[in-house]
C-alpha cells in the first residue's frame, strides 16, 4: 500500500486506488487488489484458460456470475434461446459457474438481470471497492463511489486466478455539472452533451469523477447512467463520490454490511470523497441549465446534437478525418446534412440496456406513454428481473402494454444484439442504449441514442420528437 501523507489532499479515485495497491512494480504498473469480479456468458474464454492451466478461481466468494448478454427476453430457459449456438452460451455459463463453485444468477433466477443493474441492486457494488468485469460498461458501477472498469478475457483469467490485476494508474479528470437541469432533461442527455463536446476519444486514459450540483441532486439510477456512458468518451472509468443518497441506496441490500459492520463501513465510506484542494489532471465544466434533450445522428456517440438541432454538414468539421467520418456516418444512416432531427421518421423503439433500464427509466418512459399509443413497434426490456417485478407492481408494465409495447424479460437484448433481438437491416431505431456503432443492433441497423422519455415520445409519434412538447 502506498503511504500517503494525511495532509496531501487526495481525490476519491486516488484514495480507492491507493487502498488497493498491493505493490508497484519498478516499471510503473500497480498490482491492484480486485474486490469483485463479475462474470457473464462472454467470460467463457477466461474459464477455458483456467482449465488449460489446471487452475480454479482463487476467491470464489468474491466472484459473482450473472447471465445477461445471450439470454432470451421471451422466455426464461436456454430452450427459449434464438438458436442452438446461443443456448449453448447460456449452458456453458451455468457449467462454468458450477465448475468454479461460484455464486451465480442464472436465467431463471429472481436475481437475474444485466450485470451492471444487478450488482448495485444486490449490494455487490459498494463504495470504496475495486470491481472488474469483462464488459466495458462496468464503469456504470462507479456511481456508488467505486473504481469499476471493464477488462478483457486474459485479464479476467488473471483476476480469477489471483484476485489481482496489473494496471497503469490512469490520469484523473473531473467533470463538473453545475446549475439545474431543465424539465425533461436526464443523465443520458448530460452525458451525450459531454461526449459531443469532448469527443469519443476525449477522456482516453482518464478516470472521470462527476461532480457539481446536478450530480449531487441526482438519484443513484441517474448516476449509474452517467458513469455507464463514461466509456463512450473513452474514459477508463467514471465515478461519483458517495453521499447520503448513496448510503440510503446501499442500506439493506442483500450483500451490503449490516449492524455493527454497517457502522464500520460507513466510517470508511465517509472518508472517500475528494478532499478540498485535491487536483485533477483535467477539469471539464458543463452548464446543466443549457442542456437540451439529445439525440445522435451518426455512428459514434460523439455524433450527438440537441433535438432542436439539424444534422451537421460534414464539411463543417475541423479535421479531414472527422469530415470523412461524418460523411461515412451519414451514408450509413441514410441522412442528409441540414435535416431537422425533430420529425425524423423512426421504425422501432428499444427501451433497455445497462444505460437506461432501471426503475426510474421505466417510470420516465411510462409517464409519457400513459393513455397514449405507440405508432411503431416498440419493446421494453427491464434491466433486471427485480426491476421487472417492481414495474409490474407499480402498474408501469400495464401502461407499456396498453401503449402497445412488448413487455419483455430482462437482459442485454437489443443493445448488444447477441441474443437474437435485433433491429432489421436499414431500420431506424430510437434506442435508450449506449452505442450507435455501425451494425451494433444488427447488420445494417441504424441507431439513434436517446433518453427513455425521448424513446417513449418517438414511439408515440413514430418520429424523433422533442419530449418537452408532449
Amino acid at each position: 500500500m502506498t503511504p500517503a501523507s494525511d495532509k496531501t489532499p487526495r481525490t476519491l479515485f486516488g484514495k480507492i486506488w491507493d487502498a488497493h495497491e498491493i505493490l508497484r512494480h519498478p516499471s510503473g504498473q500497480s498490482l491492484l487488489y480486485t474486490d469483485r469480479d463479475l462474470i457473464h456468458e462472454g467470460s467463457f474464454h477466461a474459464f477455458a484458460d483456467l482449465k488449460r492451466r489446471n487452475l480454479r478461481p482463487r476467491r470464489p466468494q468474491q466472484i459473482f456470475g450473472i447471465a445477461d448478454h445471450y439470454v432470451p427476453t421471451l422466455g426464461r430457459s436456454a430452450d427459449d434461446a434464438a438458436s442452438p449456438a446461443i443456448a449453448r452460451m447460456i449452458r456453458t455459463f451455468d457449467e462454468n459457474m458450477e465448475w468454479g463453485g461460484l455464486r451465480h444468477f442464472g436465467i431463471a433466477s429472481r436475481e437475474q438481470g444485466i450485470v451492471h443493474v444487478v450488482a448495485p441492486e444486490q449490494g455487490i457494488t459498494l463504495p470504496g471497492l475495486t470491481i472488474v468485469c469483462s464488459d466495458s460498461h462496468t464503469s456504470t458501477q462507479g456511481a456508488l463511489g467505486a473504481i469499476a472498469f471493464g477488462i478483457g478475457q486474459s485479464e479476467n483469467a488473471h483476476v480469477l486466478a489471483t484476485q489481482t490485476l496489473w494496471q497503469m494508474r490512469p490520469r484523473t479528470m473531473r467533470v463538473t455539472v453545475d446549475g439545474r437541469l431543465g424539465q425533461g432533461i436526464t443523465a443520458k442527455d448530460v452525458m451525450l452533451a459531454l461526449i459531443a463536446r469532448i469527443g469519443a476519444a476525449g477522456a482516453g486514459g482518464h478516470a472521470i469523477e462527476y461532480a457539481g450540483q446536478v450530480v449531487r441532486d441526482m438519484s443513484i439510477e441517474a448516476r449509474l447512467t452517467m458513469c455507464n456512458l463514461s466509456i463512450e468518451a473513452a474514459a477508463r472509468l467514471g465515478m461519483v463520490a458517495p453521499d447520503e443518497t448513496t448510503f440510503r441506496y446501499v442500506a439493506g441490500r442483500h450483500y451490503a454490511p449490516t449492524d455493527q459492520e454497517w457502522d464500520l463501513a460507513m466510517a470508511q465510506w465517509r472518508a472517500l470523497p475528494t478532499d478540498d484542494g485535491a487536483t485533477f489532471d483535467r477539469e471539464v465544466e458543463l452548464d446543466g441549465g443549457a442542456i437540451a434533450p439529445m439525440v445522435t445522428w451518426g455512428t459514434s456517440p460523439e455524433d450527438a446534437v440537441p433535438i432542436t438541432g439539424r444534422i451537421p454538414d460534414p464539411a463543417s468539421f475541423a479535421s479531414a478525418d472527422k469530415r470523412k467520418a461524418a460523411a461515412k456516418s451519414l451514408e450509413y444512416m441514410d441522412l442528409a446534412p441540414g435535416t431537422e432531427l425533430d420529425g425524423l421518421l423512426i421504425d422501432r423503439v428499444f427501451i433497455g440496456s445497462c444505460t437506461n433500464s432501471r426503475i426510474e427509466d421505466l417510470r420516465a418512459a411510462a409517464a409519457i406513454l400513459k393513455d397514449r399509443k405507440a405508432a411503431i413497434p416498440a419493446i421494453v426490456v427491464p434491466g433486471s428481473t427485480q426491476v421487472r417485478e417492481q414495474a409490474e407492481a407499480e402498474g408501469l408494465a400495464r401502461i407499456f402494454r396498453e401503449a402497445g409495447f412488448e413487455w419483455r424479460q430482462s437482459g442485454c437484448s437489443m443493445c448488444a444484439a447477441m441474443n437474437g433481438d435485433v433491429v432489421g437491416p436499414g431500420e431506424r431505431c430510437a434506442s435508450t442504449s449506449n452505442r450507435n456503432f455501425v451494425g451494433r443492433q444488427g447488420p445494417g441497423a441504424r441507431t439513434h441514442l436517446v433518453s427513455p422519455a425521448m424513446a417513449a415520445a418517438a414511439a408515440i409519434t413514430g418520429r424523433l420528437t422533442d419530449v418537452r412538447r408532449l
Binding site: S27, I151, E302
Partner: protein
C-alpha cells in the same frame, strides 16, 4: 504468450476514426471457440459489400495488403466493447503491431496480452505514414520493441514506442503474467488478509 522482439513488415492502412471493436469483430461471432480461429471474423462486415462478397476496395482485401503484419489505423482504434475477440481476430490474421494516434484503453491492454504491440504515434506522423504508403504500398515499417522504437519508411525516421516498461518486458520475454503474479502470492495473501479483516463482509 508469443514473445515480441522485432517485426519488419509491409503495412496495411485501415482508415476511420473511432473504429470500434464491433467493426473489428461483430458481436454475433463472439460465440466461437478460440481453437476454431478468429481470423475469418476480422472486419467481417465492413470488408464486405451488401451482397456479402469481399469488397475489393477494403484495404485488407487488396492484393498489396496480403502478408502485412502491421496495420496503420486511426484515432481511438478499438474503442467500445471490451471483447478480446477483436484482438484474437487480429492475432489470428497474423497482425503483430498497430500504429495509431490513440487506442481504446481496454483494447490496448488486450492487445498487449496477446503479443500485439499497439504503437501510439503523433497524428501528424500517422498521416505522413499514410501518405508514404499511398505512394509506395510496399514500404516497410520495423517495430523494434527491444530498442523501443518504430522505424518508419523513407525519411520519416525513427520514433519511440511509449509502452510502459512492465508491458514491454512481458512482451519481450513472452512472459506468462499469471505465472509471474504467483511469485508475489505471499504479498497478495497478506494484503488480502488485512483487507478482509477490515471489511469482513467482502469475503463471505
Amino acid at each position: 504468450m508469443k514473445a515480441f522482439t522485432r517485426e519488419t513488415s509491409t503495412v496495411a492502412y485501415v482508415p476511420g476514426v473511432n473504429c470500434d471493436t464491433d467493426q473489428i469483430i461483430p458481436g454475433r461471432f463472439l460465440k466461437a471457440d478460440r481453437a476454431e480461429g478468429y481470423d475469418k471474423f476480422l472486419f467481417h462486415d465492413i470488408r464486405r459489400d451488401a451482397a456479402g462478397n469481399l469488397d475489393p476496395r477494403f484495404p485488407l482485401n487488396r492484393p498489396d495488403a496480403q502478408g502485412a503484419r502491421i496495420l496503420l489505423v486511426e484515432d481511438n482504434f478499438g474503442c467500445g466493447s471490451s471483447r478480446e475477440g477483436a484482438v484474437y481476430a487480429l492475432a489470428d490474421a497474423g497482425i503483430r503491431a498497430l500504429l495509431a494516434p490513440s487506442f481504446g484503453d481496454i483494447f490496448f491492454n488486450n492487445a498487449l496480452k496477446n503479443g500485439i504491440v499497439p504503437v501510439r504515434l503523433p497524428a501528424a506522423v500517422c498521416e505522413a505514414v499514410a501518405d508514404h504508403l499511398a505512394a509506395d504500398p510496399q514500404a516497410t515499417v520495423t517495430v523494434d520493441l527491444e530498442a523501443a522504437q518504430v522505424i518508419l519508411p523513407g525519411d520519416l525516421g525513427a520514433h519511440p514506442i511509449t509502452i510502459d516498461a512492465f508491458a514491454r518486458d512481458c512482451l519481450l520475454q513472452g512472459l506468462d503474467e499469471i505465472e509471474m503474479t504467483f511469485t508475489y502470492m505471499d504479498r497478495i495473501a497478506a494484503f488480502e488478509a488485512e483487507r478482509m479483516a477490515r471489511n469482513p463482509w467482502l469475503g463471505r
